[in-house]
């Protein structure tokens, strides 16, 4: 559980430090005029960005717990590591490309370049789908090689972790599909700018998670 504790420690420390800084040195019992300084929103950003940040904390918690469970279960004597298919390297590369493409799209959206946004979205979506298809093929390869899900906890964790990561990716693709539909049916890039910016953050996050998971699977 150390890994989870470290992750949650960081999250909680951030929350607590922020809250203490907001609340320290105030004298709430003294009434003051409601001037413009005393704003009602704590962060000068869109609420959706705040919600995404909170959601990323939730997702981090989920993955950290899975990783903790993995390391604890790994210590039992019946653990037999599996040979990861080389296809996973290609998939990782696809996901990196998807992330880069999304970042490029984001830059285009910020500058208001409609046509680049269109092609950028298409390319990032295509790489993401390739990644997911690659993951399914990797499953089939493992299955064909006899690494069945119920044979060993190492196999089970492999299928489980990739599935959970893939599900998060699918959730991202749903938002991606909505902005892509919008752009292709004639909306300008401004209307999807926020969605693209947030998706970029989400893609980077899922890339990071995948690299951590992949590294862990390779090294154990």
């Amino acid at each position: 559980m150390y890994i989870t504790l470290i992750f949650l420690g960081i999250i909680m420390a951030t929350v607590i430090t922020w809250l203490l800084r907001q609340t320290f040195n105030t004298q709430p019992w003294i009434s003051e005029a409601a001037d413009n300084e005393v704003s009602g929103s704590s962060m000068d950003t869109n609420s959706k960005a705040v919600a995404l940040t909170v959601f990323l904390a939730v997702a981090t918690s989920i993955f950290a717990l899975f990783i903790s469970a993995y390391t604890i279960r790994m210590d039992e004597p019946d653990w037999r590591p599996l040979a990861e298919p080389t296809l996973l390297w290609t998939n990782t590369f696809m996901l990196i490309l998807a992330s880069v493409a999304y970042h490029w799209t984001r830059n285009a959206a910020v500058k208001g370049l409609d046509s680049r946004v269109k092609s950028g979205l298409t390319v990032s979506g295509a790489f993401t789908v390739l990644f997911l298809v690659g993951q399914v093929v990797a499953w089939q390869q493992l299955n064909a090689a006899g690494y069945y899900l119920d044979l060993n906890p190492a196999n089970a964790f492999f299928y489980l972790l990739t599935a959970i990561h893939g599900l998060h990716m699918l959730g991202g693709l749903w938002v991606w599909a909505r902005s892509t539909m919008k752009v292709w049916t004639g909306a300008d890039s401004d209307s999807v700018r926020l969605s693209i910016e947030l998706c970029t953050v989400y893609w980077h996050f899922l890339l990071l998670v995948w690299i951590v998971l992949f590294g862990m699977l390779l090294s154990t």
């Binding site: 009434s31 005029a33 704003s39 704590s42 609420s47 919600a51 939730v58 604890i72 489980l160």
Partner: protein, 587 residues
């Protein structure tokens, strides 16, 4: 930057005035309707949980008299009772119910930041409740594994409900977590981003602080339950052995090898302990507001109360293994977790002192909400004190499997939060409905419930001390069960039945007062916080009419010396405070 409220920034999202019955009461995106939907569903399923407890109490008090209770459904009743009360009643009611109602109103917002997601949240929650109830009607019935669902017995033959019950249970928990996450994202974002002008974090009522911190805990802790539920579903459905060790069942070795049941316990309690505070922190917050309002005195040590909430929230993540002393662990770990457990008593005790000091020299009005709030101080202190015993490894080991633990956690996280729930419902009932409840019925409800729970749980500590084990269907003839304990068991069952019957007073009062209650007016308690200053009661869609309120002070300006009234609403600027006779508490 010039202040523009978020509520007015995202115009199109907020002003979708509902016009049909369906959009107004069923698929409503109004936080107040969603709050009441959450509340009604939670109370209905809570009543089911209460009936289940009455049923198994019958068996405990009068063994083998009632033939409809056999060992299988005894365990099913106990399991689902625990599950319902902790998750589907208290978590949903505090965060989904009070969170939804109070956050926008107390912070001066028109609605939650994401109303559509809020609506999804309540209906997904309803779905999780339906799945839970459905588990009683599938082949084999509901799971009887205990609310902690420990493997291996939770999914091994011999335990009730290992065919379908456990699958539906885990599925229902997963669905609940999805619902909670959608709601939780809303609560956190709304608190951070949608407060009205002048509402700084340190002017928020403590109710909002408690709900806010509990939501953060929930968002970070429920994933642990989700992870363990998913892994157990894999073990059950796909034949993996994450948790399932090598076993011999009826003389035959099972397929499972090497799984770690203790891993499940770690994951479960990593959720399970913060869950205690997910239930307790909103109760702390709400009860603070109730005490302050009805004692006509500012809450004692507001900043300390806020920091205690934050500290308890942080500490609640590093105490989980005190639920696992009997599972065996490195003695140093036991020492660590015992220490953190006892440290958490410090901020908690601070809160109790501050509540009592709020009452000190206050102008106490013993109305129904206040009775429940004061009752809470008693039951919570009582339950907290036994917690100090159980936090120590050496005392926990002999007591862990006895009724002492059952009595402890029922006092601290069963009775106490429920008393706050009742107090808070009575307190905000006039705002939700525009009518007053019946005061006499409310007082009967309080006294019967309060004294009833004491007559139920005080003797339970005693029989726990005698060593009477929990979780048993029948005790048989055992040496440690003297006649007095057997008689006490019967009397506890009678108390439980009386408490259960008393709740009909509450339900009756709530329903009949909807039509027959006196009109309450907008601010019957002369309260300072924003929800009592709305232009309409009950507040209309959008809450605030044309313009949002502006806040000039904290929510606890009661009996300020030199002012004409004994309360100054948060919306009143300093220049407009009527000056007059002295209400100070320094007489």
């Amino acid at each position: 930057m010039a202040y523009v409220s978020i509520a007015d920034r995202d115009h199109e999202a907020e002003h979708h005035d509902p016009d049909t019955f369906i959009t107004k009461y069923v698929w409503s995106q109004d936080h107040k309707v969603i709050a009441i939907q959450y509340g009604v569903i939670a109370i209905l399923i809570g009543l089911v949980g209460m009936l289940l407890s009455s049923a198994f109490r019958l068996q405990l008090g009068f063994p083998d008299v009632f033939s409809f209770i056999n060992p299988e459904n005894y365990y099913q009743f106990v399991t689902i009772h625990g599950m319902i009360m902790v998750i589907y009643l208290l978590t949903a009611l505090f965060l989904g119910g009070f969170g939804n109602y109070l956050i926008p109103l107390q912070l001066g917002a028109r609605d939650m930041v994401f109303p559509f997601m809020n609506m999804l949240s309540v209906w997904v929650y309803a779905l999780s409740v339906i799945i839970l109830v459905a588990s009683f009607f599938v082949p084999g019935g509901a799971t009887g594994a205990g609310w902690t669902l420990y493997p291996p017995h939770a999914i091994s033959p011999g335990t009730p409900g290992t065919d379908w019950g456990i699958i539906l249970m885990l599925l229902s928990l997963g669905v609940f977590i999805v619902a909670f996450t959608m709601g939780g994202l809303n609560y956190v974002t709304t608190v951070l981003q949608a407060r009205c002008k002048g509402m700084t974090l340190m002017r928020m009522p403590l109710s909002v602080w408690g709900i806010f911190m509990a939501t953060i805990l929930g968002l970070l802790a429920f994933p642990a339950l989700l992870v363990s539920a998913i892994m157990m579903l894999f073990d059950k459905l796909l034949g993996t052995s994450f948790f399932m060790p090598a076993m011999i069942q009826a003389g035959v070795a099972t397929d499972t090898v090497g799984g770690s049941p203790v891993l499940f316990q770690h994951l479960f309690w990593f959720f399970g302990h913060p869950e205690v505070y997910i239930v307790a922190l909103p109760a702390f917050g709400l009860v603070s507001d109730l005490l302050s309002t009805h004692a006509r005195k500012n809450i004692f040590g507001y900043r300390m109360m806020v920091w205690a909430i934050i500290a308890i929230g942080g500490l609640s993540f590093i105490v989980w293994a005190h639920h696992m002393y009997v599972s065996g662990m490195n003695p140093y770990f036991g020492f660590f977790f015992a220490t953190t457990t006892l440290i958490i008593a410090v901020p908690t005790a601070l809160k109790v002192y501050n509540w009592v000091l709020t009452l000190w020299q206050g102008n106490i009005h013993l109305r129904v909400p206040m009775l429940f709030a004061i009752g809470f101080i008693f039951t919570f202190t009582h339950g907290g004190l036994t917690g100090l015993f159980l936090g120590n490894v050496t005392i926990d080991l002999p007591l862990s499997d006895t009724y002492f633990v059952v009595a402890h956690f029922h006092m601290v996280m069963g009775v106490s939060p429920v008393l706050v729930v009742f107090g808070a419902i009575y307190h905000w009932y006039p705002k939700m409905t525009g009518r007053m409840y019946n005061e006499t019925l409310g007082k009967w409800h309080f006294w019967l419930t309060f004294l009833g729970t004491y007559s139920l749980y005080l003797p339970m500590h005693y029989i726990g001390f005698l060593g009477v084990p929990r979780r048993y269907f029948a005790m048989g003839n055992t040496d440690f069960m003297p006649d007095s304990a057997i008689t006490l068991n019967a009397s506890m069952t009678i108390s439980a039945l009386i408490i259960a019957a008393t709740q009909t007073l509450f339900i009756y009062n709530m329903i009949v007062s909807l039509k027959k209650g006196e009109k309450s007016g907008g601010n019957p308690w002369k309260s300072t916080s924003l929800e009592w200053q709305t232009p309409d009661t009950p507040p209309k869609h959008g809450n605030w009419g044309h313009s949002l309120p502006e806040v000039h002070r904290w929510a606890y300006d009661y009996s300020v010396p030199g002012q004409a009234e004994d309360f100054t609403p948060q919306t009143v600027p300093e220049s407009e405070v009527p000056v007059g006779r002295d209400h100070g508490t320094d007489h």
